[in-house]
Structure formats: structure tokens, C-alpha cells
Amino acid sequence: MTSRRFFLKSSALAAFGAGAAPAWLARALYAKDAPNPRKKVLVAIFQRGAVDGLNMVVPFGDANYYRLRPTIAIPQPDGSPDSAVDLDGFFGLHPSLAPLKPLFDAGRLAIVDAAGSPDPTRSHFDAQDYMESGTPGRKATADGWMNRALPPIAGPKSPVRAVSLEPSLPRSLRGRNDAVAISSLGEFQVRDSRGAATFESMYQSAGDAALAGTARETFEAVRLIQSIQKQPYTPGARYPNGRFGQSLQQIARLIKAKVGLEVAFADMGGWDTHVNEVGQQPSQGQLANLLREFAQGLAAFHEDLGDRIEDVVLVTMSEFGRTAKENGTRGTDHGHANVMFALGGPVKGGKVYGDWPGLATERLYESRDLDLTTDFRDVLGEVVTRHLGNPNLAAVFPGYASPKFRNLLA
């Protein structure tokens, strides 16, 4: 695999010629009416730490939910800010997710419940790894599902095809295709401008073709991002404070700049709510605060993109769900199935997808957790195939022979 990557790079370099300006990029950037390929974009959001999906999308129609969670359940919808926001008479959103209700109603937001990874592990470490590699139960996988999801391209590629807003490249994006980690657009540069020029000329002439090739891509990406940075820009929406909002805002900026972004990754942490998950009121406390930031971020992203949302699908995931029953410290422990969101123009929203297994004791996974009825690869696989246009799912999710699409996308 390694050598293949080098081979591809070296030959691309030879075909392209060192020093030749990537004219198509310049065209995409500067010409107002250039024939810009409106790239389809996939954005993945990872909720690290295992969000409590049962309090995120509340099954208020299931009496067992209230039996299992005497002190931390979200009350049935009654219109008050401390009750669930009714979606379909059975499920409701956590009150902090109220900003997403209009998107659900407009058919832009779909929810898949009882979804996640089939692997039984309750280790954050293993479960995140399995979800990001896209191969539950298989540790030896070297690369990530999003990297494999990139459709093959002939000819020169955008240096910012695959971008992580995590400071280091997450497992999901690692692999043969180039992906860049950009903790912030402003910092993606050599901080000394004279040094930058010298480095560029040094690496351009480096005898090592692979190093020279990567350096060329890097400086292209830097120039591209700096030129975006230099243009006056005001986000088209107000994002919440914090890293998550910043990440989404920068992804939106890259999408709107039409520089060839195809997949982007951002994460948000803090979801591991073993203790005091819910505050004095359901609209308060740790989970409520995190979900507020989460919902405001997604809503702002949707608004900011304007009509570009038609080309974008954003999916959310978390390594596993949390116990159906609350624990002794007003929190929840590591569970199994969870909930996933899909947001975007191509999404057939306004519906909670999936088969609800129920919370009756005999229906629980290992007698304690929400059971799984949708494999996360069914959701991601559909987006990869129908939205990104990569039909080769056997390569994206090796070992997963027959995904069952939920038909979330129009």
C-alpha cells in the first residue's frame, strides 16, 4: 500500500511537471463563472466519549424509558422548555436540540435511531477505532473509512480534498489519499514568510520525488488557504463559541470557497456522562450544555451554507450509546446502540428512521443497553455511494458484504 502511494505520487508529479501552476485551481478560485465542478461534500462529526442517544432523541412514547430513568429522563413534550420537542408523537428532541426542529420540519434533518457499531466492546478506545477504521472487530486495518471513501480521480487533485479540523489527522481520514489536518485556516502556513519561500524552493528541488511531491501539494494547499484567508469574509450565520462551532464555520468557508473539498471531519468531546448527566432541570447540566452547542453549531452550519447545502451531507456518529437505565450517580454508563443524524440538501429528512427495538428488559442488548438495528455502515455506505458517488463499498467497508440502505437520501 505504501509503495503504491509513492508510485502514484511520483507519476502524478512526472505527468504534471514540477512548478506548473494548477490552473484549474486558480480558475476555480478566481473566475466568477468558471465551470466549477460543484463537488459533493461529506462532513462527518464524531461525538467522542459516547453521547447518551436516549436523552438526545427521547423515546417518550416508550414507558420503559421513564421506568429505567427515574431522575434523568426528559419529560414528555408539554411545550415547556424543560420537556422534549415532539417529532412524531413517539420520539422527541432534547430541549437543547430545539434549533434543529425547523430543519427536521423542513425535511433537511433525518434521524436514524438504534444505530451504531455491532461490535460488543464498551471501550471508548476500541469502539472509536473500529468506527473510524470502518471495520468493527478488526484492529489491523491501517486506514480510515473516509479516506477510502474518496472517489478515484484522474489527473490533478485539490490539495484540500480531505480536511480534518482536528489538529492531527484522525483515524477516519488516514490512508492512501492525501488528507490535511488544519486546526485553523489562519495557522495553516509557515509562520515565517521568508522562510516559507526558501523552504518551498528547497523542497521543490529535493532529489526525493515523494517528498518533493508532498511538499508541492502542501504549499499549494497553504497558498490556497491563505488566499481564502485574505478575502474578506463574514460567516453567513452565528456559530456558538468553542472549538466545535469554529470547526464547522471553517468547513463551511472551505465549501463556499469552492476549492475542491470533498470530505471533512470534525469532532466534539465531553459526552462521557457517568455522573450528573442532567442538572436541576432537564434543560440544564452537562448534557444540556453540550447538546446546545452541538445543535447551534449544526443549525448555523446549515444556515451559513445557503444553497450550497444542496451539495452537502453531514452525518454524526458516536462510538456507542449509553446504558438504558440510569446509574447510581445520575448518569449513564457505556452501552451499545445510539443515534445518528444526517443533515443536508439531499437528505430526506423529517423522519426518524430505523427499527425501534424497544426498552423492555428482554429487548435490551445484554439485558442493559438499547439494541442495534441499523449498522453505522448502512448509513455511511449510503452517503458514500449515493452522495459521493463511490460505488465500491467493498473497498470502503471491507468485510461488510451487504449493507442495507435506509433510503435516507433523495
Binding site: 509503495s3 521568508r194 455522573v275
Partner: protein, 551 residues
Amino acid sequence: MRKIVGTLVVLAFGVLPAAAAKNSQSPFQIRLSKDQQVVQALNRLTFGPRPGDVREVQRIGRKKWVDRQLHPSGIRENPALEARLRAFDSLSMPPAEAARHYPTPAMIQAIATGRQPMPDDPGVQRMVARYKARKDDADPIAAPRRVRPNLIASASEEVGRQMLLDNAPQQVVSYDLNSGKLLRAVYGNRQLEEVLADFWYNHFNVFLDKGADRILVPTYERESIRPHVLGKFRDLLESTAKSPAMLFYLDNWQSVASNPPLPKRPKQARRGLNENYARELLELHTMGVDGGYTQKDIVEVARCFTGWTIKTPQKGGGFEFNGKVHDKGEKIVLGNVIPAGGGMEDGEKVLDILAHHPSTARFIAASLARRFVADNPPPQLIDRMADKFRKTDGDIRSVLKAMLDSKEFWSQGAYCAKMKTPFEMAVSSLRALDAHVENTIGLAKVLSDLGQPLYRKLEPTGYSTLNAEWVNSASLLARMNFAIALAQNKVPGVKVDLARFGSSADIGGIARAVLFHDLTPETTAALEKSSPATPALAAGLVLGSPDFQRR
């Protein structure tokens, strides 16, 4: 196709720097000059030359110097380093003690709310008092106080560590580990031993942030890895197999016979055989993925290791064999019958079988050759090293000696053929500039930005030593920025004094002083064209150059 591609890679990496592409002779047959041999010794057996090292090797004689590095107990360790290491007390603590002294926020909360007894450690008592004092703040468990890293990074070591202790005690163990590893690599005299400690830890990788491993790793490195880095492979293998850190990391501590003799208690979560350790033991630790074992062998090996567990891992308990959950049936591992009725010795027998398997000899030889010689080492060299492994019962020192006696090691094919890992790049920069590392917070962040946070490789594969892994955009930019920042004294917690370079930027002189050999003509041309204004910028540019990324 694969083979052709492989050859192209060898050409790109091995031959071009040696400028011998037209010669039909393999670059691994072309000897290095005397001066190049000295550079090669320092680049491969140390974390990079410091000022004065080249002369030191020349004075002692290359062969004798190498022999000394192979016998580190005869090298006097740097007393200043030893004095500094004493400050990082968690490095010498058993896990239980580290767990008590450096509790997590959840543990502090448990004590503060009376769910756990108050320990007599005054430090912990202070932490609990602080917790109670700031209880009005937003939930401290959800959001453990984030210490402002820049503040700590620019403090003195003593103050910085105390700030960490007051605000995030659970991070002290990680801080101590990072400090120990970085300071030893930069200042230690037993360099080959240090390079090997890094190599073997990475070979038997454990991820620090997986649960109890946060307190198990210091003991793992100290007792399971370090004593064996030049010893018998079989000892190294067993010490890792029995380490709580590895048992926890690869889940073997929870692995029990599929049909335990105990009556099943319905309320308990399902437990059974866990194959994780068995799989990685075969694939990554011993035989290699193509070593010739089957899925059936993995299951059989996993059965042999049932009952190898840990007493109370979160409290830092030690290794324990629990016969009650051990699978006592007969197993067949790689054709060897392990009779029914065995106990802990079943696992030990597996280690014997694996340590003496020819695939293991070859896999270990190849791994060492890839680290020390080239990405694609000549097969004849691997054969000779593997042969030595078999003949010496897996004696690591002898295998290394076979490599260091080979013509391939001292050839153009090996010279500057390896891309430095971020850790190697950062440490070799610090050594080249003779930097003073005041505290390691800033450097730990740099390594994270460069893509190699120490002790935090999540996957059991460890960090790759292959060139391709480290050629990517984010990492390259981070290298250039680190290089410039270091030379301009802008890495928090690190001081460099470039007065010895004078005030004018004599590029050739600075390059030789930093790189210890000549820059390529292309790099020199680029540098001269830019005519950097200060020696600091010139030194930064050399550290960030393609030439310095290789060793």
C-alpha cells in the same frame, strides 16, 4: 506489479541521494567514506549528533565507539541527566502508588464526597480541599480544569509540574513520562540503549490513554521493556506478556474460557474468549502477518492465555493467574500439542514456541533492519541477522552486532536513506543546537503537532518507521515551523544559544555545524538565494530542510 513498484521506491530512496543510479552495482555494495561512516554511526545509533560528537567518535575509533554503545553499562551516564530524572517521581513508582498520588478528577470527587476514604497523602488532601473550594464552578467532572498550556510551558520545570499537580494531577504521570523520554534522548550518554528503548516500546506498543494504562505504562517501560532491550527476545516477550499494561491494553485480562467450569450467573455481562492479545502477539510481536499462522492458531493461543489477568487494574494491581477461568482443554498451537490440564504454563509454552519460530527470527531481524538500515533492506542482510537470532537463542545484542558488522549497514544504500520520525527530528534538532530543555510541555505539544504524541499511538502497530508514513502535509508544515521556532528561541520551555555562529549568516558553516555533513547542492542553492538575515534563521532553515529530515 507490486514488485516493480517496490523497485521504484528503492530507486527513489536508496540510489538517488548516492548519485549512483547509473551504476549497476547495488548501492548496498558501495562503501561509505571514513567521514560518512562516522555520520552514519551517529545518525543511526544515537538520536543525532551533538556538537563534538563527530570528533569524539573519531578519537575513540568508530569500531570501538559502536562496541561501547552495544554495552551501555560500561558507559558513564550523564550525572546532570540523572539528577533531573529524579524530579519525575512517578517514573519510579509502582502503579498502585502512582494511582494514589496522581488521581483522576473522578477519584478526587469520590474522596470529597466521602465515597472513598481520605488518603494520608498530603498532596491528595490538598487536591481534595481545592476540589471542595471550587465546587461552585461548572461541573468539574465534566470539564476537568484545563490548564493553560502556554502558562505551564514557559514556567520552570519545578513550577510547571506543581501547577499541573494542582490543576490536573492525573496528567502528571504523562508529563513525567514525556520528560523522561525526551531528556534521556537529548542528554543521555547511552544513546543506543535509548534508541532501542524507543524501538521496543513501539514494537510492543501500549496506548497511555486507555483507562488504567495511564498508571500502568511507567512501570511497563521501566520493568518490562528497558531491562531487556539488548537481552534475550524471549525475556522481553514474556515480560510484556505478563505486564498489566499489555494485559489491559489488549484486553487479555478479561479473556476467560468460553465454557468456564463455574455455573453461569445470568445477571453478569457475557464474558468469554477475547482474541485481541493472541492476534497481535502473532501478527505484531513475533511472527508477522505473513508468518504462517491461521485463525485457528489465534484462537488456540487465546485459549492458552485465558486466566492471565490483573488484580484490580484501576488501582494498579499486578499480574495474576486465575486458574478458575483458564481453559484447561487441549490446544494445538502451530502444530504443537499443549496437553489438557495445564495452567499458567500453557501461555509460557506458547511464548517458547513463538520465540523459537523461524518466522519470528525473520520478522524481528527485518523490523530491526528497517529501523536501522533502510525501508527495504537487502534480503541477504535480513537472512544473516535472522540466522544469528536463531543461533543465539534470540540474543538481541548479537543480532545487532551482525547488522553492525555488515557491509550493508555501512553502505551508500543505507546512508541518509531513512526519513526521521517526528520524535527523531525534534530530538536531533535539540541535540544539534545543543538546546537547553527547561521543561517538556512545549515539546510534547510540538510532537503532537508533528503527528507523534509520545506514548499515545492508539493502534497496537506502534508508529511506523517507514518513510512514507511521515511524508504528509500537516507533518511537513509542522516540521518547518518547529525548525524555525526552535532556532529563534520560540519553543516554550526550550532555550538555544546560537552565539557560536557569530552574527553573520555563513550558510555553509552553519549547515555543517547543524547537519554534520554537507547540504545537497540543491538545498545550498536555495539557501544562498534566500540569504537569510540572521544565523538563527539560517539554522532554522537547515533544520527544516529536506536534508535534515533524513538520517
